[in-house]
Structures are given as C-alpha cells and as structure tokens.
Amino acid sequence: MSNGGSLLPIIALLPFLGALVPGLMIRAGRTACASFTAVPTIAAIVMLGTMTPAVLRGEVLTAEIAWLPQLGLTASFFLDGLGLLFAMMILGVGLLITLYARFYLASEDPMGQFYTYLLLFQGAMLGIVLSDNILLLLIFWELTSLSSFLLIGYWKHLPEGRQGARMALAVTGAGGLAMIGGMLILGTIAGSYNLTDILQQGDAIRASEWYLPALILILLGAFTKSAQFPFHFWLPHAMAAPTPVSAYLHSATMVKAGVFLMARMWPVLSGTDAWFYIVSTTGLITMVLGALIALFKDDLKALLAFSTVSHLGLLTMLLGFGTKFAAVVAVFHIINHLTFKAALFMTAGIVDHETHTRDIKRLGGLRHLMPITALIGTAAALSMAGIPFFNGFLSKEMMLDAASDTAWAGSEWAVPALATLGALLSVAYSFRFIVHVFFGPKRDDYPAKPHDPPFGMWAAPALLVVMVVLIGIYPKLVGPVVAMAGAAVTGGELPYYSLKIWHGVNMALVMSVIAVVGGLILLALHRPLDRAWLAAPRPEAKAIFDALVDSLVAVTRRVTEGLHNGSMSRYLAIFVAATLALGYAAFTGGRMSPPTRELLPIPPVAAAGWLLLIVATALVVINHRNRFRALVLIGVIGLMVASGFVYLSAPDLALTQISVETVTIMLLLLALYFLPKTTPKESTARHRLRDGVIAVAAGGGVAALAMTFLMRDFSSISTFHLDNSYTGGGGTNVVNVILVDFRGYDTYGEIIVLGIAGLTIYALMEALLNGPAGRKLKAAPVPPDRSRDRHPLMMVVATRAMLPIVVMVGVYIFLRGHNQPGGGFVAGLVISIALLMQYMASGFAWTQGRQRMEYHSMIGWGALIAGLTGVGAWLGGAPFLTSIYGYIQLPLIEKFGLGSAFAFDLGVFLTVLGSVMLMLYSLSRIARHAGETVNVEPMDYDPSLRVQDKKPEAE
C-alpha cells in the first residue's frame, strides 16, 4: 500500500468549500454563478487525474489525519480503482449537470441555493467513495441523505416536492441508522474501522457469528439507498425534484451509493448463501417489478424512475450472484447505465421544458419539431433497451450470460427466465419512450410550441450519448477502467471476460433475441394491456407509507400525551419519586463503613434554634394557604439557617444568608402585591396524602444521607487551600480567596449567570408591560384599603440617615473581605439593601429620579472588570485569572496589601449589586405601572391636613 494520497482530503473537502461560493456569485449573474460552481469540480477532477496513473497501475493511495486514534477515529481516505471510477463519475456528471441546470432553471428559481445544495451533495458522495474509515463513511452517508433532502425539496412551493423529500429522507435515513449498527459490528469483528484493514479480513468476518446481523443491517442501508424492493417507493416520489437533480441523483450518485457499498463490501461479505439469497433475490424482484411498473407509467420521469429502480435491481442481482464475472459485469453496467440514464433524464427534462408536459399520452411526433433532442433520446433509449451498437447491449448480454449460469434453490431456469423477462420489459418501456414521444404523427395540442433548446442545454446529454455509442461500438475503450474497478471489487485477480459485441451464438444471445422480440410485441399490445393494468387493483406504496407514518405518529402522540399531560405537579411527583428510588437503590446496593466521628454536643441555644426552625417549617406547610403568614415564617427559617452558619464556623455564609434573606423576602412581598393573597384548597385528601408520603420519604432520605456522612471522616483537597491562601493568594479569609482566586473562574461564571438572570427579569418585565398584561394592569382598580400614609415620616427620615452609614458598612465589608468575613458578594447585597430601603421609604419615582447609574451598565461593568482582571494575567504570561498582589504604602495610613483579586472582587460586587437592584427594580416598575402614584414631596402626607384629609395625590 503506498501513500501519495495527500490530495484526497482536499478533494473530499473541495465541494464543501465550494458550496459557499454560489450563494455569493449569484450576485454576479447566473452564468458567473454556474461557472464558479464548476471550479471546485474541475479542480477535483484535475487532482484525481494526477493520481489516475498510479491507480491504474494497481496502487492504493491513502491519506490519514489522526483525530482520536485511540478510539479508531481517524479521518482516513483511500483511493483504489472502484473509488476512482465512482469519484470520476460523480464529478464528471456533476459538471454536466452544472452546465445543464444553468439553462434548465427558470429565472425565478434561486440558482445560488441550487448550486450550493448540489455541491454539498457532491461533496457527501465524494466522501463516501473516498473514505477509508467506515465511521467517516457513515457521516458522509448521512450527509447524502440530508443534502438530497434539500435537493429533492428544492421547489419548496410544490407539496409533492416536500412530501417526496420527506419520504426520501425517512427511508434512506432509517436505512442509514441500520447501517450504522452494521458498520459498528463489522468494525468490532475486524478490530479496525479502516476499510483497507477490513477488506483483508473477509474470511474472519464471514466466519464470525455476528456476520449475519452485520450483513442484514448493512444491506438495509444499501437497499434503502438504492431503492431496492420493498424500499423502492421513495425513488419515484423523489421525481418531484427539478430534472437536473433527478438526472444527478438517480443516474450517477445517490442511488448508486448503495450499489457502491455492496461492491465495496463484496470481497468481505459475499460468497455466502445468505448473501446470495438475500441480495440476488432482492435484485431480481426489484428488476422485474420496476420494469413492469415502468411500462405503465405515463409520466416520462416516472417511467425513467422505475426503469432506474429496475436497473438498480439488475446491478444488485449481479453483485448478489457472488461470482467474480458477475461483479465485473456489474461494474461495466454501472458505467453504461450512468451514461444512458443521465442522458435520458436530461432529454426528459428538455421535453418537459419545451412542451410543458411530461405526460406521454399528450406527446408524440416530436421528432419533427425537436430533431436533435429526438436523436439524443432515441440513441440513449436504444442503449437502455439493449440494442446492439449501444453500450447497454454489451452489459445486458453479459448480464444474461451470468444469469444463465445461475441456479436458484436448485432451479436451473428461474433466474435466467426472470432475467429475460426483466430484459423484455426493459425493451418494451424503452421503445415506448422512443415511439410514443418522438415518433408518430405531429400533434397540434402540445401545451407549448416545442423546438430544440439552446446548445448549452443539449450539449451535456449529447456528450453522454456520444459515449454511449463509442463504448457500444468500441468497448475496448473502457477496458482499462472496467479492469481497474473490477479488480478493486473482486479483490485483485480478474476473472476471464471479454468486452466485445459478438460472442457468437450463445445462450445470452438467444435470451436477448427473445427479449427484443417479446418487448416489441408487448409494446404493440400496450393499449389493451394499459387498460387492464389500470383496472387491476395495485397496492399504492405512498398510501401504505403514509398510513405507516400516521400510525407511528399516533403511537408517539399517545405516549407523549400520556406522560406529558400538562400537570406540572405530576411531573415533579414522578421526578422526586424516581430520584428517591434511585437513591434507595444506590443506598442498598453499597456497603457502609463504620462511623469514625464523635458527635458534637448540642448546646441549649442550638436546640432552641432547631426547635424554631422545625416549628417554622411545619407552620409554613400548614399555613401555606395564607401567603403572607407563610412568607413571614420563611423569614424565621432563613434567620435560623444564618444563625446555624454562625455557630458552625461559617461567618461568610451567615453574612450572605442574612442579606439574601432580606432581599428574597422583599422580592416575594413585592410579588405578593399582585398575586392572590391566599391559596385555594384544590387538591383532594388522597392527593395530599400521596404528596405527604413522597415528601416525608424524601426528607427522611436526605436526613439519613446527611447523618451518614456527618458521622464519617473524609479526605479533602482543602488543605491545599488553607496552606496556600495567604502565601499564594495574599488573604487570610480562605473562603474569599477561594472565590476570587483559586476558583475564580467558577465565580466569574456565577456572576455572569446572576447578571443574565437580572437582565432576563428586566426583559420579561418589558415584555409584560408592553403586552396585554400591561394594559390589564393599567385598567386594574387601585385597592381601596391602601394606607394613605405610604411613606411614613419616621421611616423616610431613618432610612435617609442610615444610607451613608449602610454604604460605609458595605464598603468596609468589601474592603476587609480578603482577610476577614465579607467580600464582594456580601457588600453588593448590603448596598442593595440600603438602596432598597430608599425605594420602600421614599417611593419608587422619588428614588429613581435620584439614581444616576443604570443597573444594566453596572452588571456590564462588573462582568467587564472581573473579566479584564482575568485577562490581565495573560500580560504576565500566566493563565486566565492568575492573581498577583503586593503591598502598598500610602501616606497617613498603614501599609496594606493590594492584589488583582481586589479588582476581581470589585467586579463581583458591581454585578451582584446591579443584578439584585435590576430584579427588584423591575418588579417595582410593574407596581408603578399598576397605578402606583408618585409622591412629589419626600413625604406625601401632611399630618396637619388630617382634618380635611382631601389632598389629591399628584400623578
């Protein structure tokens, strides 16, 4: 195995890069767009051309980019004869399609989009044929399903287009899923995910007990992609696509991917009875069935679609025979089918384009009006029929030859007879295409006046037909190509075969003559047969597929609606119960070590606090219908928790808890201003009992868990923090040093979350006030029982006097935070409480009018300062958020330490302050909206007016 494939990844990548171009180039015009689409294709062809001599010599070129080699994940590519043949077909036909589509697409079709999809698809196909790693191959395989979905559904306004695209995606996507399973099994058996390795291990794989599952799964993928019976139905429906797409997908690429895969895996998977019976039988059925249906299709493209199904069946059957001769014939027919079928699709497109109909019953006599098109179409169709001097004849003869030697389940005649029948039907529909479209009398009722299209449009099919004839007359021309690809399929040595027109009078020739004569007779009888066919009941694949999809949808809907019935309390109950069950399983599944810790004594104060907490919690639950009372009790619980933190050596937590408690209660009080003040009694006793059981079980479980670990020692990483806090972080308050230094990144993330929460609330409030709720609020009546003395004198005076003191306390807590309990979080909360007091005492508008800094920008500045502090460490060459500190001596005051952590903590402080204020400010603004009045004076209540008590409130 030689290397030298360094260009392969570039070739695989080129179309994807190129896909970016058409969208831009369409601005420069349609011709420029098409030309630039051709550039990556041509470049890829040239690069492949440089490698062709080596491949023709029998070398295998490889290239590998390691990604996670330990998991077998490498982006590895290889190029052998089969890969080169397919790559050239994909690129060559792609180029012709690019040219053809330039003239085919109407001016209102978005051409840039079309070429982008086309290049995406081309890249995915190239990836399949060049991949060495089968996992990479699978990715490209799925990409073809996705990009073909875009191409088939290109005419988004057509319902058939959308349905066809969806059906193609569902069928090929499902097959792709099966194939993933098969490929993974294959890779496991072979011990490698590289095709080059797998192909060496045919015997081991065929002997493995996992061979059959792998085979079936992989074949499911190949059969769905190549439209084999019973998955053939998607292909005709994909005909809703523009004709260039049909010509590309259904002659050279998409549907050939399955055939390619079977050919690729042929050395590994073929040669067993399972392979023979599954693959050849499927192929045979598909071939005959497809040809039969094609004969009775009136839509030109549908006829071609079913003929494609039939020919894919032929190829599958040949590969299924498992003989080397049949495999080489398959390779030869792949080339021939490509040339005549692409030409035929393009011809059908031209006819449609010129006459505005594809209905064979409305066509005929076009040979007089469109001589060039008629010539091209006739030559290509004759090849499809298998008439001598056209290339289809050669491979059909060889196919019949291979079939005549094949016995199926002991029967000598079954395969030859059915193969002849397939060929006969093929002759019939091919001649129908010729005779019913181009021959016969000229008609005068075409929907449009037909004439030959411009050169650009018939150039591509003409080129293909020239190849059809050249190969048909002088088959040696493609001899080296067939040999090269055939050798790659059969794994080295080639069987005896000869590419020539005259093999003498043999079995195949007899079968061929029967086919041609029978086919012509069938065509002559077409009219009565057609009536009989239309009258006969036939299963409609689309109806079956739709019914299947509908029943699947119904099942999933039942399951989803059964689980998601809209009851949140039910979800939560299920969630808690499931968590409990998991916890119980884990608890009983493990073993417990004996307790190692002594219990600490319980002082009376702690016992009293505990009692308060338990009673308050119980009262919250009992009294939760009275919402105010429950809220007050929540405050008691918060205070007890904070006291617990004080007692248990967590001063920082106590400070935080107590300040958060304050703002939380304020927040809930504000919310309660709008919400109903009581909770109605709604749940049944049974319901409450169920919830109670769940709650008690959850509480008991958590308590048991806590008790269990509290009685046992553990190893902690905190010694590191304690040892390095002062020497490394420059602070003695280890908790704060952890926050701003050791785990500064966490803190950074957390303040950003908090900032986002603040902005979310602001945004929600804006949306709410501008929506119907805002109008409802405006119209809502002001509660009549509101106190007139909303801004009591004492409270206003007290809060204003306290403001500077509280701010000073906040600053103090902030400054000492690095060495003593405190820091940015607590300081931010303390200052926000100071500000909130002003809002409460003096009113929203009064305070807002004196507030100079936007809370949004405070959040922004905070996050920015914290982030810049982290980035600053980069200047010193250290990682993000590495802190530095030093000592500074200012006149008059003592020497003090100052570190970058200080700036970080400032950022934390600003973000916390901004977020908390923004949250509460937003809620208050809703209140303001709901008819809150503004006090113009600091105090809006003058006690001397008590007698009249009539002073109107200013708005």
Binding site: S569, I602, V621, F645, L653, V734, V735, L754, F825, M919
Partner: protein, 124 residues
Amino acid sequence: MELVVASSVGVLTAGGVYLILRLRAFPVILGLALLSYAVNVFLFATGRLAINAPPVLQLYGEASYTDPLPQALVLTAIVISFGMTAVLVMVALGAYLEADDDRIDLEPDEEAQAETTAKKETGA
C-alpha cells in the same frame, strides 16, 4: 449537633417537596425556597461540622480550621438561588397577569386549546 443539622435538612426537604407538589405558583416558589435552604445546608455539611474553627487564618498562634471549600461553593449557591427565585417569581407573575390565574397545571381543555393555537402558529 450532627443530628440537629441532619434533621433540619430532612424537615426542610420534606416541607419543600410537599410545597412544590402544590397546584399554585406561590406555594411552589416557597417550596423551592425551602429546598434551597435544605440543599445549601446539606452541601455546607459535606465539609463536616466544626465549632469555633472559621476558615480565617490566624497568622500568629495555632488554630484549627474547618473545610473552606464547601463554604465557598455554598456562598455562590445562596446568591444564585436568589437569582433563580427572582426569575421564577417574574415568570409566575407574568403567567398570572396574562391568565388571571396562578395555577401551574394545564387543565385538559386548556391543553387542547394551547395545542390548537400552537398548531395555528406553526401552520401560519
């Protein structure tokens, strides 16, 4: 003392779980507040309990310190849980103002209605 902490966590959890299973938004918010206390104390307790050993270094003289790491984690958790509560309150408030009702469950007919409007929106 361990028993005190463990039983407090248990009672707070039980109360919290019972309240989040109620049918109205406000008790659910209260329940979440109780659960926040429980979870914070629980996490704090993973550092084990110690008295008179705050993790503030004494530069001179010997002293013992409790585990500072859970404290640092819980400190931010307390602040974040406030943010979460605030968002929830706002959402509940919005829902109440739009629907005149603070039930958290969709009634079967309401659900059907929501579905048809969703269908109409996607169909349009």
